[in-house]
C-alpha cells in the first residue's frame, strides 16, 4: 500500500464533495479512480496533493502523514500530478516547461547541460522534442497534454496522479498515452488515474476504485468492477 486516505471529508458551503473517503492504492500498479460527474474525484485529488485542505481525515503516503502539507512538500515526497484541464506554463517554451520541474537550484543556471539533456530525453520520449523551443501556448491540445506529462515526469515522482489523461485527445494519441502509462509503470512507477474513458481504464488498470457521492462504493480489478451492480447503479443514477 502506498497512497492511503482515511475518512477524508470536504464540504464547499453546503455541498459535500468528500464524505469520508477511505481509500488505499496499490504500490507499483496502475490504479484508476472512476465515478460519475460530481462524485468527488477531482476534489479527492486536490485534497491528496494539498491544493485543498480537507475538513477532516488523513492522507498518508508510504506511512508518512501528508495531511494539510503544502503542495510543493507533497510533490517533493514523490507524488506528481497533472490537472483536469491540462495546465502548462503558457508563455514558456516546452523546454522551460519541463525544466521548471527541476527541484530548487538557486542561482545556478536554469539551462545547465545535464538538466537540458534530461529534459530533452523526456520530450523525446513523449515525441515532442521538435517543439522544444516553442511556447506552450502555441502548441496543440494534445501536445500540451504530453508536455504537461513530461514536466511531471521530469520531477521523477514515484507515484503519478493523472487527472483525465484522455480528456479531449484523439484516439491515436489515446493509444500512445495508454501505452506510455503501461511502459512507465513497468519501470516501477505507481499510477493513480482519474478517467472517464472506460476503454482506457479497463485496458490499462490493475486496480479500480469507484466513487459515488464523495466516497468509494466499490473496488477491485477491472474484471470485478465491470460486473459490479453498484457501479452500474451509480453511473445510471439509480
Amino acid at each position: 500500500m502506498s497512497l492511503e486516505t482515511h475518512e477524508l471529508r470536504k464540504a464547499f458551503g453546503g455541498v459535500t464533495a468528500l464524505d469520508g473517503a477511505t481509500v488505499s492504492f496499490h504500490e507499483g500498479k496502475v490504479n484508476a479512480l472512476i465515478g460519475p460527474n460530481g462524485s468527488g474525484k477531482t476534489t479527492y485529488f486536490n485534497c491528496v496533493t494539498g491544493m485543498i485542505r480537507p475538513d477532516s481525515g488523513r492522507v498518508t503516503y508510504r506511512g508518512r502523514d501528508l495531511t494539510g502539507k503544502a503542495p510543493h512538500r507533497i510533490a517533493r515526497a514523490g507524488l506528481g500530478r497533472t490537472f483536469q484541464l491540462c495546465r502548462t506554463f503558457p508563455r514558456m517554451t516546452a523546454l522551460e516547461n519541463v525544466l521548471a520541474a527541476v527541484p530548487q537550484g538557486g542561482l545556478r543556471s536554469a539551462k545547465a547541460k545535464g538538466d537540458i539533456e534530461r529534459a530533452m530525453s523526456w520530450l523525446t520520449r513523449l515525441g515532442i522534442e521538435h517543439l522544444a523551443e516553442s511556447e506552450a501556448r502555441d502548441m496543440s491540445w494534445g501536445q500540451q497534454k504530453l508536455l504537461e506529462l513530461a514536466g511531471v515526469l521530469m520531477a521523477e515522482p514515484e507515484t503519478v496522479l493523472l487527472d483525465e489523461p484522455a480528456g479531449g485527445v484523439n484516439p491515436a494519441l489515446l493509444d500512445r498515452i495508454g501505452a506510455l502509462i503501461r511502459e512507465l509503470n513497468a519501470e516501477g512507477r505507481t499510477f493513480v488515474i482519474v478517467e472517464h474513458n472506460m476503454d482506457l481504464v479497463m485496458s490499462i488498470s490493475d486496480h479500480i476504485v469507484v466513487f459515488d457521492r464523495g466516497r468509494p462504493i466499490a473496488e477491485g480489478p477491472p474484471s470485478v468492477i465491470r460486473s459490479d451492480e453498484r457501479v452500474l447503479g451509480a453511473y445510471l443514477g439509480v
Binding site: H72, A75, P90, A100, S140, N170
Partner: protein, 341 residues
C-alpha cells in the same frame, strides 16, 4: 537566427543603451535637463526594482512608492539622527527596508493576487499616516532635511548623482539578468504562469515569492535613499504617494515586464513624457487623466508592453520561424482529424 549573432545583437543593444545613458550629461545643455535626467534614471531604477516582483511573479504592487519613501526616510534619519556618513546610511537603509519586507511579504504573499494588491496600497496609506503623525521622530509635515553628501555646486551635484543612479541601475539590471537565467528565476516565472501548477511540480512558491519581494524592496529602498540624498527635502505627503507607485507600474508595463530592459524603456518614455507635458501644458489636473488613460490603454490593449509588441511585429515578418510552428501544429491537427474519422 543563430545563437551567436543573437548574442552580438544583444551585446550591441546593451552597449548602445549604456553609451546613450553615459553620454547624456555631456549633451545636456543646462542643469535643468540634467536634473530631469536624474529623475528619469531614478524612475528607471524604481521600475526595474519593481520588476523583480512584477515581472518574475506577476504580482502587481502599487505600493513600491512606499518602499522607496521608506528607504529615503531611513537614509535621512540615519544620516541626521544617528550621524552616519551618507552612503553608509544609504546601505544600511537598504538592508533595513529589505528586513522589513520579510514580515510585510509574509502578510501580503501568503494569499493570492487581490490581497497582495490591497496590502501594497494599504502600505502607502499607513506609512503616510505614521510618518505624518510621528512628528517627533520623522519631522512630520515639517519635513526632514537630508544633509548633502558632497559640497558641490548644484549642476555638479546633479552630475554626480546622475552617475550614481546610472550605477545603481546597472547593478539592478545585472541582478535581474542573473535571476532571469537561473533556476530560481525559472521557478519564479512558473509562479507567474500558473502558481498552482508550479507548486504541484514542487516549487516552494511562498518562499520564492518572499525572497524576490525582499530583493525588490532592497533595490527600491536604495533608489529611494539615493533620491533622498540627491533631493535633500523629504515630506511624507510626497514620499508616500500612491502616484509614485502607479507611475512605476505604468512604466514597467508599458516597456514590458518580461524584458530586462522593458522597465528602463518605459521609464524613459513615461518619465520624459511627464517632464515634457509638464513644460508644455503644465497647469491642469489633466495629467492625471492622461496617466489614467495611458494605463488603461496599456492594460487593455498591450498588457505585455511595447518591447514584446514590437517583437511580435518583427516576428510576423519573420516568415520562416513563424510558419515552422504553424506547420507542426497544422500537421498534428490533420493527424488528429484523420484519426478521428
Amino acid at each position: 537566427m543563430p545563437n551567436a549573432s543573437r548574442k552580438i545583437v544583444a551585446v550591441g543593444a546593451i552597449v548602445v543603451l549604456a553609451a546613450g545613458i553615459l553620454v547624456f550629461p555631456s549633451l545636456a545643455p543646462n542643469p535643468y535637463i540634467l536634473s530631469s535626467g536624474v529623475l528619469v534614471l531614478n524612475y528607471a531604477v524604481l521600475a526595474t526594482s519593481w520588476n523583480f516582483v512584477g515581472g518574475f511573479t506577476g504580482y502587481i504592487s502599487l505600493g513600491h512608492g512606499a518602499l522607496a519613501g521608506l528607504g529615503g526616510y531611513a537614509t535621512g534619519l540615519l544620516a541626521t539622527k544617528a550621524g552616519m556618513p551618507s552612503f553608509a546610511a544609504l546601505a544600511l537603509a537598504g538592508l533595513l527596508v529589505a528586513a522589513l519586507a520579510v514580515p510585510l511579504g509574509m502578510a501580503a504573499l501568503r494569499v493570492r493576487g487581490a490581497s497582495f494588491v490591497i496590502v501594497s496600497i494599504a502600505l502607502v496609506l499607513i506609512l503616510l499616516l505614521v510618518f505624518q503623525s510621528w512628528a517627533s521622530f520623522t519631522g512630520g509635515s515639517r519635513g526632514l532635511v537630508v544633509p548633502r553628501p558632497f559640497d558641490l555646486t548644484r549642476p555638479e551635484h546633479h552630475r554626480v548623482f546622475y552617475f550614481l543612479f546610472a550605477g545603481l541601475l546597472g547593478v539592478a539590471l545585472l541582478v535581474w539578468w542573473l535571476l532571469d537565467r537561473s533556476r530560481f528565476g525559472l521557478g519564479l516565472k512558473s509562479i507567474r504562469e500558473d502558481e498552482d501548477k508550479a507548486e504541484a511540480l514542487g516549487t516552494p512558491t511562498f518562499t520564492y515569492k518572499l525572497i524576490v519581494f525582499v530583493v525588490s524592496a532592497g533595490f527600491t529602498a536604495l533608489a529611494g535613499g539615493l533620491y533622498a540624498l540627491w533631493f535633500g527635502d523629504l515630506d511624507p505627503v510626497f514620499q508616500f504617494s500612491i502616484l509614485t507607485g502607479s507611475y512605476v507600474v505604468l512604466m514597467a508595463l508599458l516597456g514590458g515586464v518580461r524584458n530586462l530592459f522593458g522597465p528602463v524603456v518605459g521609464a524613459l518614455i513615461v518619465g520624459s513624457a511627464l517632464e515634457y507635458f509638464k513644460v508644455e501644458y503644465g497647469d491642469t489636473p489633466l495629467h492625471l487623466v492622461a496617466t489614467g488613460l495611458l494605463l488603461a490603454l496599456v492594460v487593455i490593449f498591450m498588457p505585455d508592453g511595447i518591447l514584446p509588441a514590437i517583437g511580435d511585429l518583427f516576428r510576423r515578418f519573420d516568415r520562416t520561424r513563424r510558419s515552422s510552428i504553424r506547420e507542426v501544429t497544422a500537421a498534428e491537427l490533420r493527424d488528429q482529424r484523420k484519426a478521428a474519422v
